[in-house]
């Protein structure tokens, strides 16, 4: 398995772990509180705004740790640049990821049309964010393995 494939697998696992741990922590903290409409919007806004920097920071740390671990275990240096294949795969994966998010966004809007709770809309939006990230990483894995 190549460095790029291993990196994508680590990225996939870390995304799921970060999202899972963060969601578990937040919902444990707030599960007993009943939120009125204004509080609910504030809660979901904060959930998303805090999730973004937490994910970025955790991913940077995990990426550095993986790099060190890879160097130590394989005695190989990770590629220091992205070549034409890497760029093409990243572009295609980003496109697939965007399709995933747009689908989730439309579902979220659909939930509002069907007069569901606003929290349902936020949950769909957040889940589609996670799903789009997974789609992106799995696409990269697929393209590295099967070619473009």
């Amino acid at each position: 398995m190549s460095y790029q494939e291993k990196k994508n697998i680590v990225s996939l696992i870390s995304s799921l772990l970060i999202f899972g741990i963060y969601s578990f922590y937040v919902f444990q903290k707030y599960q007993d509180r009943s939120l009125d409409q204004t509080d609910a919007f504030s809660f979901w806004g904060a959930f998303i705004l805090i999730l973004i920097p937490v994910t970025i920071a955790a991913k940077i740390i995990i990426s550095i740790a993986f790099s060190i671990f890879y160097n130590v275990t394989t005695n190989e240096k990770e590629p220091s640049f992205a070549d034409e294949l890497d760029k093409l795969i990243a572009l295609k994966a980003t496109r697939n990821s965007h399709y995933g998010f747009v689908f989730g966004f439309l579902l979220a809007m659909g939930s509002l049309v069907l007069h569901m709770q606003p929290s349902v809309m936020f949950i769909i939006l957040i889940c589609s964010g996670l799903a789009s990230e997974i789609v992106g990483v799995v696409s990269q894995l697929y393209y590295y393995r099967k070619g473009v």
Partner: protein, 72 residues
Amino acid sequence: MGKSLIGNNVRKLRFNHNEMTQQQLADQVGVTRQTIVTIEKGNYSPSLELAFRIARVFGLPLEDVFFLEDHQ
């Protein structure tokens, strides 16, 4: 996606050039080893620029390294 219509002799040419490794070829043409692996498997058709650079490493014209596969 998958097998491209462009075939190549890169693996054979590497072997004939003092058993050059994929990493050595990758370093000479300025790509990662993964890209050479993917090209050799026929899963990626390189850009014209990269194809010319690979051919130059082997000192051969482009058509001796890459060719259009006959899918009949």
